[in-house]
């Protein structure tokens, strides 16, 4: 709504918003002084360790901790499964938690774990879901959906149909700081938890029932977190165990953070998705029909359902799809950056790319032609613009060729394209803004900065509103005692915190103007705050420095609050300012070289054209896209949670064999943020998820373009690339 009091400033008036601004916590981070949960040591620390099940599926008959308890240095022991009751507790994945120990030294805790005796009754397990024909008894229908008459559309003699198989295995989050907590009891009724979490204000309640305390007697603290990516919303069984261990140790602090292998076993996995697809288009490339049978696992529970055909879905003229959940004993899944979307994208964009090849069409042209299948017309427009920008940046028209690369030599080059969408609407949140007589400004909220730049965004919004430099604003987050803010997931944070802090800062500014206007002999509405000054509009003589103006407050600080609602109804939109929205697009192009003798795929370049409404900090926004592209390269080329059919255990729970891309593996990254008129008016929209959706598809398509044949499943490892070439590539 135009001219609403909270509205974002016009482009010409923005001093900070949209510029490239360095992180306000950069000094802490570069100097090594930033303290993460893993670094917390309130003194007299006890070390917690967990005993885990070696079996993928078993009943626990008994747990005997007596020997462990006798070990000198062991302070407390808790059994984490309800042993001794009927029915006997059942383990559903290798690595599940059985018991925990706290001891004065880490080695003692490790020794104690080894002294716990567990009697298991092993049961049959199932851990490999890719071959659906082997999954009998482990499947559950998830979704069946149909629109139009796909069968009739496929039979039309004028359409071209492509059939294929596409898939993405289970991968893990592999946060560099593992999950865990440092916990103590300041008194018998209150619990203090340093948590590596994505939800400072949200998670305290999870301790309430198991520890029999009130949710508001739990204080969650998290100033710095070493990555989350969707895996750090729960306090987890080990958080509860740490609180219990501390309680029975008289409230002494217990530190329980996972080792790397446990992190990879249990603390984060993205569901797999595999699909057999038929897709058809008219000879001119107009998409007409889709049919898919897909399946995937997220452990014992359901996995999400990939929203295929993606991102067109019910705009697709005719489609039918069926998705099946496969239950496996591989461990639970968690939200992984843009849940279900990267899988849906690989399946759909892979299939459409193969269809383009069959049609002898340039895939960029084919996507351009079908852009109107986008969920809404704005997005269709964005896709067209982004396809154009990305194609230009990748020099597509020069570098792309029909499949395969026919140049001489054994190294083949290929380009591939993909597009995606994501919501990114704000979460609800609150903040408190103070302006003090000494000129200092503080904003507090129970939010968290996962490394995305949340602190910096908050500082920019408040500084812009009050006409201050960024470093004049003190941002205090990371503690549940501040006004509650939503958890950071689904790209909701930037919208949430910018909405609440813009409102809080405008409220503070207005109250401030009201307080000092008499001293300037003006009306509050005639004042403005710019360039670290407060002045009467159009009267340069009546200007105070920010400090002088604040001094006029006497002894009384200005205290204001701001709140962001998650959604504003159409009715509310008439009266309330809407500072954010959702629904972004993005296009990516991968440029790769494939060594056809070794099967190794090398990244030459990734290009991303991405919109996300009004950008607050261009520097951290671009960094988010870099990060997403690199995570994309990781899951496209390397990542897979490999499960052993014989033992039911994960074969690669370490960073040697669970490989991530290094600095030399990612090639050149070109990021173009779509900004300016047509984009900025949408207000602030989240960015964490969208750019991680397309890389798998774009890279897979690029490899197919290079070698002339689809490598059906990610990761595109050398063995699979060679197998695909052998089967029919390079023709």
């Amino acid at each position: 709504m135009a001219n609403c009091k909270y509205d974002w400033p016009e482009a010409k008036d923005r001093k900070l918003i949209g510029k490239r601004i360095s992180r306000i916590d950069g000094h802490e981070k570069a100097s090594g002084r930033a303290r993460y949960t893993f670094d917390m040591n309130p003194g007299n620390l006890l070390f917690g360790k967990i005993l885990r099940s070696p079996y993928a599926h078993a009943k626990i008959k008994s747990v005997d901790t007596s020997e462990a308890e006798k070990l000198p240095g062991v302070v407390s022991v808790v059994v984490m499964k309800p042993v001794g009751k009927e029915p006997q507790p059942e383990i559903q994945w290798a690595g599940d938690e059985i018991a925990a120990v706290a001891a004065t030294r880490e080695e003692i805790a490790e020794d104690a774990i080894r002294k716990i005796k567990v009697e298991y009754d092993p049961l049959p397990f199932f851990v490999n879901e890719e071959d659906l024909s082997q999954a009998e008894g482990h499947t559950k229908p998830a979704v069946t959906e149909k629109k139009g008459d796909p069968e009739k559309a496929f039979q039309d003699p004028d359409v071209v149909t492509s059939e294929g198989y596409y898939g993405v295995p289970v991968i893990t989050h592999c946060c560099l700081e593992t999950h865990g907590h440092v916990v103590d009891w300041p008194d018998s009724k209150s619990l203090r938890v340093y948590a590596s979490t994505q939800g400072v204000s949200a998670i305290g309640g999870q301790f309430a029932d198991p520890l029999e305390i009130r949710a508001d007697d739990v204080n969650i603290i998290c100033n710095y977190v070493g990555g989350g990516f969707g895996s750090k919303f729960a306090v987890d069984t080990w958080g509860i165990a740490a609180a219990k261990l501390s309680k029975s140790a008289g409230g002494k602090p217990v530190k329980l953070l996972l080792e790397r292998d446990h992190e990879l076993l249990v603390a984060g996995a993205r569901p797999s998705a595999f699909a057999k697809v038929r897709v058809a288009a008219k000879k001119d490339g107009t998409l007409v029909a889709w049919d898919s049978e897909s399946w995937g696992t997220g452990g014992m529970g359901g996995s999400g359902v990939p929203p295929i055909p993606y991102p067109f879905h019910d705009k697709f003229p005719n489609f039918s799809r069926k998705h099946t959940f496969v239950s496996t004993n591989i461990g639970p899944s968690r939200a992984w950056r843009a849940p279900n979307h990267p899988q849906a994208c690989l399946i759909t964009m892979g299939a459409i790319d193969d269809l383009a090849a069959k049609l002898n069409m340039d895939p960029v042209e084919l996507l351009m032609k079908n852009a109107d299948l986008a969920p809404d017309p704005t997005l269709a427009k964005y896709y067209r613009e982004e396809l154009e920008v990305a194609a230009k940046l990748a020099d597509w028209h020069k570098n792309w060729h029909p499949r395969p690369d026919k140049t001489a030599g054994t190294v083949k080059r290929g380009l591939g394209v993909s597009l995606h969408t994501w919501g990114g609407n704000p979460h609800a949140g609150n903040c408190a803004v103070s302006i003090h007589p000494d000129g200092s400004v503080e904003v507090k909220l129970g939010s968290q900065d996962l490394g995305t730049g949340t602190r910096t965004v908050i500082a920019i919004v408040v500084a812009e509103t009050l006409g201050l430099p960024v470093d004049a604003v003190k941002v205090t987050i990371g503690d549940s005692k501040y006004p509650p803010d939503g958890p950071s997931g689904g790209s909701t944070t930037v919208g949430g915190v910018s909405g609440s802090t813009r409102r809080g800062a405008v409220n503070a500014r207005d109250a401030f103007f009201a307080a000092i206007a008499p001293a300037l002999g003006a009306k509050p509405e005639d004042l403005e705050a710019v360039d670290w000054h407060v002045r009467v509009k159009g009267n340069a003589a009546k200007t105070l420095t920010w400090k002088q103006a604040c001094a006029k407050l006497g002894v009384k600080s200005i205290e204001a609050t701001g709140a962001q609602k998650p959604r504003y109804t159409t009715e509310e939109q008439k009266t309330e300012c809407v500072l954010n929205s959702g629904g972004v697009g993005g296009v990516q192009i991968a440029d790769v070289s494939v060594d056809t003798e070794t099967g190794i795929v090398r990244m030459n370049r990734m290009v991303a054209a991405q919109d996300c409404g009004l950008i607050i900090d261009l520097k951290t926004a671009e960094s988010q896209v870099h990060g997403a592209l690199i995570m994309g390269v990781c899951y496209a080329l390397y990542e897979e949670k490999i499960m052993d059919r014989q033992t039911g255990r994960m074969l690669n729970p370490n960073m040697e064999f669970y490989k991530l891309a290094g600095i030399g593996d990612v090639g050149e990254l070109v990021v173009h943020m779509m900004t300016g008129p047509g984009y900025d008016e949408r207000g602030v929209i989240g960015l964490g998820e969208p750019p991680v959706i397309s890389p798998g598809a774009a890279i897979s398509n690029a490899v197919a373009n290079a070698i002339g044949v689809r490598v059906p499943t990610l990761p595109l490892t050398p063995d699979k690339v060679l197998a695909a070439i052998e089967k029919g590539g390079m023709a």
Binding site: H27, C175, E177, L450, G451, A628, M631, L660, G662
Partner: protein, 159 residues
């Protein structure tokens, strides 16, 4: 097992008490409160725990403290001099070469080791030298930019 009672860290002699086989990382963090070096994998695979031992980058997670005793150890806390960030730290800050920054100490110390032996590395040499340090947030392009920028600053400071 022999006990180690002293380490030479960031130019100071620090009394400690540890079995010689204890990982250096554990001693630095738990006994000396130097938490800049991080636990990422504990197995020499990620570089988050990197410190300098006589100016060479070492994974402190799998370096026994017995092997570190008697050598000069530099951690991220010892890199800034006279209250001013080291040019590499400043370059990481200016380039925005981190997100969560859990990998940052290891990155900066590894880069410091590179610039000591090769003050003017090419982009390719930077990539090759740094390839063992993992950043899960994916900040690599700006890490390269920061290291090349710091090399320039350091060359200027010298001349």
């Amino acid at each position: 097992m022999a006990k180690i009672t002293e380490l030479q860290v960031n130019g100071a002699r620090c009394p400690i008490e540890a079995d010689e086989a204890t990982p250096l990382l554990v001693v630095l963090r738990d006994q000396l409160g130097l938490t800049g070096a991080k636990y990422g994998c504990g197995e020499g695979q990620c570089g988050a725990c990197t410190v300098l031992l006589d100016s060479n980058p070492r994974h402190s997670c799998n370096t026994p403290v017995g092997k570190a005793a008697g050598h000069s150890i530099t951690t991220i806390e010892g890199l800034a001099a006279n209250g001013r960030l080291h040019p590499l730290q400043q370059a990481f800050l200016d380039s925005g070469a981190f997100q969560c920054a859990y990998c940052t100490s290891g990155m900066i110390l590894t880069a410091a080791a590179l610039l000591r032996v090769n003050p003017h590395p090419s982009e390719d040499e930077v990539r090759r030298f740094m390839n063992g340090n993992v950043c899960r947030c994916g900040t690599y392009p700006r890490i390269v930019e920061a290291i090349l920028g710091a090399a320039e600053t350091m060359a200027k400071n010298k001349s």
